[in-house]
Amino acid sequence: MRNRFADTFYELGREDERLCLVVADISPAGSIEKFRTKFPQRFVNTGVAEQIMIGMTAGMAQRGLRPFAYTIATFSLYRPFEMVRDDLCYQNLCVTVVGIGGGLTYSTLGATHHAQEDVAIACAIPNLTVIAPCDPAETEAATRWCATQEHGPVYLRLGKAGEPDFTSNAPQPWTFGKLRQIRPGADVCILTYGPIMKRAWAVAERLEAAGRSVAINSVHTLKPLDVSGLADALTQFPSVVVIEECAPTGGLAMQVKAIAFDIGARTRLFSFTLKDEFIHCYGSHDDILDAHGLSIEDMTRRILSE
């Protein structure tokens, strides 16, 4: 996702000279280096200084530029939180804050590097659009949207590198603010976003093997949420499953439950989120998702048992 973002941004930057990239000492991965080399005057590294990274993008946007701020999710959203809130969101400026390593991506680095509540926090701020693509293709579509939109600030939450492709052959295109079906099915509807798509897909395969027809929807736009699309899913499917790599308070699962209540949905609703805990566990991304109770086996078993 990181590389596709960088490639896409470089391509967009060739066409639109308002596009600038402001980073806070993030190691230049692949194509970001290409943008930096090709357009050095539009690339700023503030050093290990995230407050100025966000603060200056506000001033740049006010004077006609299209800045993207870019670093690890915890440092792009948490460290400069008040700058995101006041400078970008209160003033409603078209700045994209890119958080790489959303969720538990940096699995071996401990909770200082885990953006395990980023989506919930971002969704709570007025004016902030929140987008979390699930694979490189969605990352490209989302990046293009961010570079050309006129809505206001965006939190673009990415994984890191090497995520598999899930959506190139999806029956529906990526459309901002719309639920996207990437796998058709009739019995169970899985709602998910971001890199944990790999687990949602694996759960779908297991359920299929057990005789269920399983749809998957990418809820790539977390805010504004596609309330009517979610209401339709809650109405049409006998079972709806939310799988998300985010803390339980304020994330997608809680919002889907609220919609279900509002419309009086009678579907069976399962939600799988991270625990409301800092888990002192190191290992692969999969290891730490397991530690949060999100193993493919456990999720599949629970869905089949009810």
Partner: protein
């Protein structure tokens, strides 16, 4: 719409010649107007505004250039948002805000609050939380340079804001980016909310050495002496070998112009009662 950078074209920039006697009368007028408005609301931040009357006047009526249509081409950013009352009265005098705007200050239906709000005419950024303005000003100055415009950004900060780490992040970035079009002015009244900075935070000083170590050119002026402020603003450091941003430390008195308000913390927020108002008005009218 083109995706090219929009260049600001100002063929004919005009800068006011500075008349110290006229500045004194303007500042007297501004203080009187602020006092008048203070009678309408209970919390007005009178003292923080009085502290930077001459600074703000020297910018709007001195340093900042206008184009042939009379529009400012330089940018004013009030980082110490709680001092915005002085900016409002200057903008009122310039016709950028209306009398009705100021009469509705902090009232339902009005558009002026106790901190400036982006989108209001003449307001370059929403401030109020301290330590944000200089970072935004850095971005604005960077953008103007990138666009090839010669607009300057003037940012007025409180000294308390230099206790915020974010201000020093912005200082470092401004120097690293060689933003010679950025001028920061510190309203150094030596008061934070609780106490005198020189008593409670001794390591806060010296200031100029710190700023120079961060790559700024510096000047220190008597902050209620309009001629001194203007002279420091007029020296654009164009002979410097490396392009550098500038910090002007303006030594000021919080509540300047009204004896019972000067350096008395309660006047950070309070508005005067009738008796106090009469005395304050008398002092301002009769100040030399």
């Amino acid at each position: 719409m083109t995706n090219g950078l929009m260049l600001c074209q100002h063929d004919e920039r005009r800068r006011n010649s500075f008349d110290a006697a006229a500045a004194k009368e303007r500042c007297r007028r501004y203080r009187r107007r602020i006092l008048d408005i203070s009678r309408q609301v209970s919390a007005l931040h009178v003292a923080p505004a009085f502290s930077c009357v001459e600074i703000v006047d020297s910018l709007y009526n001195g340093a900042m250039r206008r184009d042939s249509n009379g529009e400012y081409c330089d940018i004013f950013l009030m980082s110490k948002g709680h001092g915005c009352m002085i900016q409002y009265v200057v903008l009122e005098e310039q016709g950028i805000l209306s009398r009705a705007d100021l009469d509705a200050y902090c009232k339902p239906g009005g558009r002026l609050g106790a901190h400036p709000d982006y989108g209001t005419p003449g307001i370059a950024a929403s401030t109020g939380s301290l330590g944000h303005g200089l970072g935004i000003a850095v971005g604005q100055a960077f953008a103007e340079k990138l666009k090839g415009s010669d607009a300057r950004v003037y940012c007025v900060l409180s000294d308390g804001e230099f206790q915020e780490g974010s201000t020093w992040e912005a200082m470092m970035a401004a120097a690293n980016l060689g933003l010679s079009n950025l001028v920061a002015l510190m309203d150094n009244n030596d008061f934070s909310g609780l106490e005198r900075i020189s008593e409670g935070h001794k390591a806060f000083y010296p200031l100029l050495d710190k700023a120079r170590a961060f790559g700024f050119s510096t000047a220190e002026v008597a902050g209620h002496d309009s001629a001194e402020i203007f002279a420091a603003l007029d020296d654009d450091c164009s002979n410097d070998a490396t392009p550098r941003p500038k910090l002007i430390v303006c030594r000021t008195t919080k509540g300047k112009g009204v004896s019972f308000m000067e350096s008395v913390p309660i006047w950070h927020y309070r508005s005067p009662n009738s008796e106090e108002y009469a005395q304050a008005l008398n002092e301002i009218e009769n100040a030399p």
